[in-house]
């Protein structure tokens, strides 16, 4: 059987291991279990380990990993007075900035490799790479999901002119066990665990918005880097994932930017196994903080629905500046966090460009 032209295209984009950095945000000092569990899959890659500036203890890292640790002093040096807060989960963005590689994969330090439906351990790193390496199809939904997967294809009725797809810039993975729920949902369903392994990757269609979770991602840093910005911080944001919204904001920036640039975002595989205890009491405390985030989303969604970029915005950095301008204009009167986000986004782009 001869290869279809499409198969030839697939093979032309091959991501090498040395083009990838794995960024780990260390919110806890003991990374032994985390790194040992991931060793098989991480061992070929360079790790950027970013220590939460609020974490006092020294990091414990097992031997044998090609890695570099970055701490508060590195952040201070690079920031040089710029007002970006890299504490808590936001410390990973420093890793995205400091990397020199074309691709980044990032996984929260409380996630371990998952097993698929046959009991086989999932190589999340390889799956993210595969997602980034194969095209996305944002302009028309394929009902058999990812047409580039082995054993699948485009279905009858899928226009041929759209079968080349476009470059995938962002791969958003999922979580078994503790799903990424918000605080109210955690409180109502403290014992619910996500046990459903959905064996699919799909492109999130053009103009469809999604709640982007930063827990388990891969992206093209070269093109999209500036879009993943630690812009929106909740007042009193803490270390629980349901107290953060920075990834939701940066994900919405990334999606509208990808839509504008004519590139794609995928969601689905790989799964990681998320083991954080979801203590309902903790969730109750967080509810006070996160309720702010829940309210903000009601303003954020219509804002992003209305974002339009001029033709002159041709890079992710251009687009981020446009978003910050629009946020300042349209949102800052609603809540001071938005003006802060706008400032952060501008400072972020400056840092990005200055690098």
């Amino acid at each position: 059987m001869w290869q279809t032209p499409r198969e030839q295209w697939d093979m032309s984009l091959k991501i090498e291991d040395n083009e990838v950095d794995i960024v780990i945000a260390a919110l806890r000092s003991n990374l032994n279990t985390f790194l040992e569990e991931w060793r098989t899959f991480f061992s070929n890659f360079h790790l950027i380990i970013v220590k939460d500036p609020n974490l006092e203890e020294d990091l414990q890292i097992p031997p044998g990993f090609d890695h570099q640790v970055y701490t508060k002093s590195d952040m201070d040096r690079v920031l040089n007075g710029a007002s970006i807060n890299f504490s808590g989960h936001s410390c990973r963005y420093f890793g995205y900035l400091i990397s020199r590689k074309k691709y980044i994969i990032s996984i929260d330090d409380d996630c371990l490799p998952a097993r698929d439906n046959s009991g086989v351990i999932v190589d999340a790193v390889a799956q993210h790479i595969s997602n980034l390496q194969t095209p996305a199809t944002p302009f028309f939904f394929n009902t058999l999901y990812d047409p580039y997967r082995q054993g699948a294809d485009f279905v009858r009725g899928y226009p041929f002119s759209l079968r080349d797809g476009v470059e995938c810039l962002l791969s958003s993975g999922l979580w078994l066990n503790i799903a990424d729920y918000d605080a109210p949902t955690q409180i109502v369903k403290p014992h619910e665990r996500n046990t459903r392994y959905v064996d699919a990757v799909m492109t999130v269609p053009l103009r469809a918005m999604m709640p982007f979770s930063g827990i388990n991602i891969g992206f093209n840093r070269e093109v999209l880097g500036p879009a993943l910005v630690p812009g929106l911080r909740l007042v009193g944001e803490g270390k629980q994932r349901w107290e953060t919204i920075e990834d939701i904001w940066s994900g919405m920036c990334a999606k509208v930017i990808c839509d504008h640039l004519g590139c794609g975002v995928k969601s689905g595989l790989p799964y990681v196994w998320r083991g954080v205890g979801s203590d309902a009491d903790n969730a109750m405390d967080s509810l006070k903080k996160e309720w702010e985030g829940v309210k903000l989303m009601e303003e954020i969604v219509p804002f992003f629905q209305s974002v339009k970029f001029p033709k002159t915005a041709v890079t992710a950095a251009d687009c981020v500046i446009e978003i910050s301008r629009m946020a300042r204009e349209n949102l800052s009167s609603l809540n001071p966090v938005y003006a802060q986000a706008a400032d952060t986004m501008e400072a972020w782009v400056d840092l990005w460009k200055g690098d």
């Binding site: 059987m1 439906n117 028309f140 939904f141 394929n142 009902t143 058999l144 999901y145 997967r149 054993g151 699948a152 294809d153 485009f154 279905v155 009858r156 009725g157 899928y158 226009p159 041929f160 002119s161 759209l162 958003s172 999922l174 799903a179 990424d180 729920y181 918000d182 109210p184 949902t185 109502v188 369903k189 619910e192 996500n194 046990t195 459903r196 392994y197 959905v198 064996d199 699919a200 999130v204 269609p205 053009l206 103009r207 469809a208 918005m209 999604m210 709640p211 982007f212 979770s213 994932r241 349901w242 919204i245 990834d247 939701i248 994900g251 969601s267 829940v294 989303m297 009601e298 969604v301």
Partner: protein, 356 residues
């Protein structure tokens, strides 16, 4: 999270809806496949649309409650309007939607059998479609854990609460294991490919996104969207085939988006047993392959005015735009636009209380 059960021990049973749902089956051969479906289909009323030679007798297995229509019946019931119903093509099934008096329709091809899930359990496809139709869709914001109303799932962090009530579901599009629904060129390149991947998800196709709707395993709320499910002019005397469900799907999605209704895709799976001849398929699809390049941009840019407040009004408006914008591709589209209007007239005649 709004409106959901918080305790997993109180999962409501899916109602049978046996007096509210018709199963529409087009056939030209026989209905032997019904034997395998008997445990799931027997409570329901079947509408059999017999294509091809009306003098042939199609035997329906014992014990099913059904009505059967052949071409003579279609001509008798619709008179001159029967011109909108295709001949020698499974597109004729939409006649069944029109004559049904029920709220819901499930349509299935006669070469589709009961599939098994990964645990080996037989899948009650109809029950899953009913679940899909009775729970909301979420077209305005993509949920990364797919259907948030499924047991064991929910809306993820960042999903706006104001959108968690969702929209009414108008269409439930199921999938197929074994012979995948490929077009002729793909069938020719990959004749041995089989779909063995069971993807355990149902998801809403976002507003503004089109998809290729397959009529093999499809359910819909006839009261919400029925008149949009016209399967076009295909088969005998027509320059195109195997685009009937595609056409209905694009029209339906555009109208659902306009009226704020949802379309789901994913589970349930059925087992598709028969691979049709790819060379025959190629001849049927040939024009479609080229025409769809124009059809997709057309549907992507359709705007329906605010006055289009019912499905029928939307559909007639769509037919005008088809004539205006697609007529220049081929005279077929003028015929199709006429047929779309005829279809709505026939629909309203047969369904007077639900006039648009």
């Amino acid at each position: 999270m709004a409106g959901k059960e918080s305790s997993s021990s109180s999962i409501p049973n899916t109602p049978l809806l046996k007096d509210e749902l018709d199963i529409v089956i087009p056939t030209i051969r026989n209905l032997d496949f019904l034997e395998m479906w008997r445990p799931f289909f027997q409570p329901y009323h079947l509408i059999i649309v017999q294509d091809g030679d009306p003098s042939k007798t199609i035997k329906v297995p014992e014990g099913f409650d059904y009505e059967l229509y052949n071409r003579n019946d279609i001509n008798r019931i619709l008179g001159p309007k029967s011109s909108c119903i295709s001949f020698k093509d499974s597109a004729c099934r939409c006649f069944g939607y029109m004559v049904s008096k029920k709220k819901y329709i499930y349509t299935i091809d006669d070469d589709c059998f009961v599939a098994k899930d990964p645990s080996g359990k037989e899948i009650n496809a109809l029950e899953q479609h009913i679940k899909n139709l009775l729970t909301p869709s979420t077209p305005y914001f993509f949920n990364t854990l797919y259907d948030p109303y499924r047991e064991g799932a929910d809306f993820v962090r960042g999903y706006p609460f104001s959108l968690r009530e969702g929209a009414q579901t108008a269409v439930s599009h199921g999938l197929w294991l074994n012979i995948p629904d490929y077009d002729a060129p793909t069938q020719l390149v990959k004749p041995r490919e089989r779909n063995t991947r069971y993807v355990d998800a149902i998801l809403t196709i976002p507003k503004g996104t089109l998809f290729p709707m397959c009529g093999m395993n499809l359910a819909f709320d006839r009261e919400l969207i029925g008149p949009a499910m016209y399967f076009g002019l295909m088969g005998d005397g027509q320059p195109i085939g195997r685009y009937d469900d595609m056409w209905a799907g694009w029209c339906t999605k555009v109208i659902c988006d306009h009226l704020g209704l949802g379309v789901k895709t994913g589970l349930p799976y059925i087992w598709h047993s028969k691979a049709s001849n790819p060379f025959v398929n190629l001849k049927k699809e040939y024009n479609g392959i080229f025409w769809q390049e124009e059809l997709i941009p057309f549907f992507q840019s359709v705007v329906l005015s605010k006055d289009c407040s019912t499905v029928q009004k939307c559909y007639v408006e769509l037919s005008k735009q088809v004539r205006e914008k697609l007529g220049k591709i081929d005279p077929y589209f003028n015929k199709l636009a006429d047929a779309m209007v005829t279809w709505i007239e026939a629909w309203d005649e047969l369904n007077p209380s639900a006039k648009g």
